[in-house]
């Protein structure tokens, strides 16, 4: 459910270090709680995002929520496929359902995020 190599925020986003960049999406737990995702509003490339500041909006048939960036930096890529296929967030939250790729300003922020076990504990599930 919660890959070990990812880091997790209290707002249910995941961060994945890819070389010098960080890929961001939402967790399977969040996607399941939202139910069917119908719309994802993402920023433009080049926009600055702040640590735990809203970078977009996700909307399901049940709710609408802000998306928070687990890292500050510059958005260098955006998953534009989600515009036409937002349901991918439900089917593949850690893969095709990614949202933004960030060039971090301060990689130390990653240390403030949770490990998979810590995240599982936070949402009341047992680890791995």
């Amino acid at each position: 459910m919660y890959p070990k190599e990812l880091r997790y925020s209290t707002e249910h986003e995941w961060a994945k270090v890819e070389g010098k960049r960080v890929r961001v999406g939402i967790t399977k737990f969040a996607a399941e709680k939202l139910t069917d995702v119908v719309f994802v509003d993402l920023p433009q490339k080049g926009v600055k995002v702040g640590y735990m500041q809203p970078f977009g909006v996700i909307e399901s048939v049940k709710a609408v929520s802000d998306l928070y960036s687990p890292i500050s930096g510059t958005v260098v890529d955006v998953n534009t496929k989600l515009v036409d296929a937002p349901e991918v967030v439900n089917t593949d939250p850690y893969g095709e359902g990614w949202m933004i790729l960030v060039q971090p300003e301060d990689s130390k922020e990653l240390d403030k995020l949770m490990t998979a076990d810590q995240y599982a504990t936070m949402i009341g599930e047992s680890g791995s």
């Binding site: 719309f39 509003d41 909307e59 709710a63 609408v64 802000d66």
Partner: protein, 462 residues
């Protein structure tokens, strides 16, 4: 205390036909909540601010007396049925076919509440959907909402949309936009941190050079009115191009949607958001309100549209139906992050507009627009050739135009009123440099005889 008790006694003695509770029922309610008297319910209000005597109201009138009194009061007002009106400036005297309010006045529509329960309110929802669809055709836009308060607030909401869409902090507003639309826009957007910058007009139209100079990467939108407040046609496409080149949106405010019977729809020349006033479409002048705010935009901006939106769908058996849609934009779901804090619409007036548009049809709208254009052109020519009167601006006009007058426009209006003519708007009220300028409007309601009569009286005044 005695006086107050007397007040209560008076109240009890008079059985009010519109307050159905009987004395016995009042006693029962007081017993149920354990309070001795109605008086005791007010115990928390300090003595000092309480009325210690009965209300000084005259005895109730009988129904016939009441109607007679209201009729006498109404007679004190002057309205467009009794005076010949050449007044426009954002509120337009058009003929409303009787079918419009015959249908819109039906109880099912007149008393309908917000259609949250789609299964019970298909009629209301379908009416809104049809209004939206016709507004899209009229404006050349992809999507229209189910209406807002009025033209001024719709323009302000469009400015908020532009700020959210572009994430830029300034809007440029032409001073040829209705002064009250500009005021309302400032009131709406200032607390949101949006700066409203006026751009001057020149010879009755928005100054293109001034717009170009004022545009920057801070500009969220350029707001123009077309036809503008002076009745003049703007170089709309050029203004849209300027805005787009700077990465800003073009908001077109429309005070007179009937002009679209003859003008190119804003969607065809590059407007991104159309905001405006729907009163001229089948709604009476209503002493200035309630009015009908129109808002339409491109599909790519639909998630930032303010207010109620009705969509078409199919039910479980595949039958067509209508529902409120994209409600996650709205305040009852999205709270402080909603696209707007509007939680209502002008459904009844939108319905009247839909019936009006359907009644006239495409050709009818064209024909009414042409009548307005021609009658106004006739009046403009005639008034422009009276000595001492001069047409103020060169730009082409629809059904309003500005005249420089030899007398203060207010004085002119006073004199015209003696001839039972309602004159134009005095522009000095909003524009200090236009103290001798008078904004006249000629709709299809005015006959040639009435226009000739106006000209005759003006010739006599000089």
């Amino acid at each position: 205390m005695t006086a107050r008790r007397k007040g209560v006694e008076v109240e009890r003695r008079v059985q009010h036909k519109y307050v159905p509770a009987t004395d016995a029922e009042r006693e029962e309610m007081l017993r149920a909540i354990g309070v001795g008297s109605v008086e005791a319910l007010f115990a928390d209000i300090p003595e000092a601010v309480r009325l210690d005597r009965p209300l000084a109201l005259p005895p109730a009138l009988s129904d016939p007396e009441l109607i007679a009194q209201l009729r006498a009061l109404a007679q004190v007002n002057l309205d467009c049925d009794r005076a010949t009106s050449f007044l426009g400036a954002g509120a337009y005297d058009h003929y409303v076919p009787s079918v419009v309010w015959h249908l819109a006045g039906r109880g099912e529509f007149l008393t309908a509440y917000t259609p949250y329960q789609a299964e019970l309110m298909q009629g209301e929802l379908q009416a809104c959907y049809e209004y939206q669809s016709m507004l899209c055709e009229l404006t050349g836009m992809d999507v229209a909402n189910a209406s807002m308060y009025d033209g001024a607030s719709a323009t302000a909401e469009a400015a908020v949309m532009a700020k959210d869409l572009t994430k830029r902090p300034e809007v440029l507003v032409s001073t040829a936009v209705h002064p009250e639309y500009r005021q309302v826009t400032r009131t709406y957007v200032a607390p949101l941190g949006v700066q409203v910058t006026d751009v001057p007009y020149r010879n009755g139209v928005t100054d293109l050079n001034a717009v170009e100079a004022a545009l920057s990467e801070r500009t969220a939108a350029v707001i123009i009115q077309h036809p503008n407040f002076f009745g003049s046609l703007e170089d709309a496409r050029a203004l849209a191009d300027l805005a787009h080149r700077a990465g800003a949106l073009l908001i077109c405010a429309i005070a007179e949607p009937l002009s679209l019977g003859i003008l190119k729809p804003p969607g065809a020349w590059g407007a991104d958001i159309v905001a405006g006033e729907g009163q001229p479409l089948g709604n009476n002048l209503n002493f200035g309100g309630p009015y009908l705010g129109m808002l339409a935009t491109r599909m790519e901006f639909v998630r930032r549209i303010p207010g109620r939106l009705v969509g078409a769908t199919v039910d479980t058996e595949g039958r067509r139906g209508f529902v409120l849609t994209l409600q996650t934009r709205e305040q009852h779901i999205r709270r402080e992050k909603a696209s707007s804090n509007i939680c209502t619409n002008e459904a009844l007036l939108a319905l009247a507009a839909a019936i009006y548009m359907a009644t006239l049809g495409k050709q009818g709208l064209q024909r009414v627009a042409e009548l307005n254009l021609r009658k106004a052109a006739y009046a403009k020519d005639a008034i422009g050739s009276i000595r001492g009167f001069e047409i103020a601006f060169d730009a082409p006009t629809f059904h309003e135009f500005v005249v420089r007058t030899p007398l203060e426009p207010d004085e002119l209006n006073r004199r015209l009123l003696q001839h039972n003519i309602l004159g134009g708007a005095s522009l000095g009220r909003w524009y200090p440099e236009l103290r001798d300028a008078w904004l006249l409007c000629v709709t299809e309601q005015r006959t040639r005889e009435e226009i000739d009569r106006l000209v005759e009286v003006l010739e006599g005044i000089r």
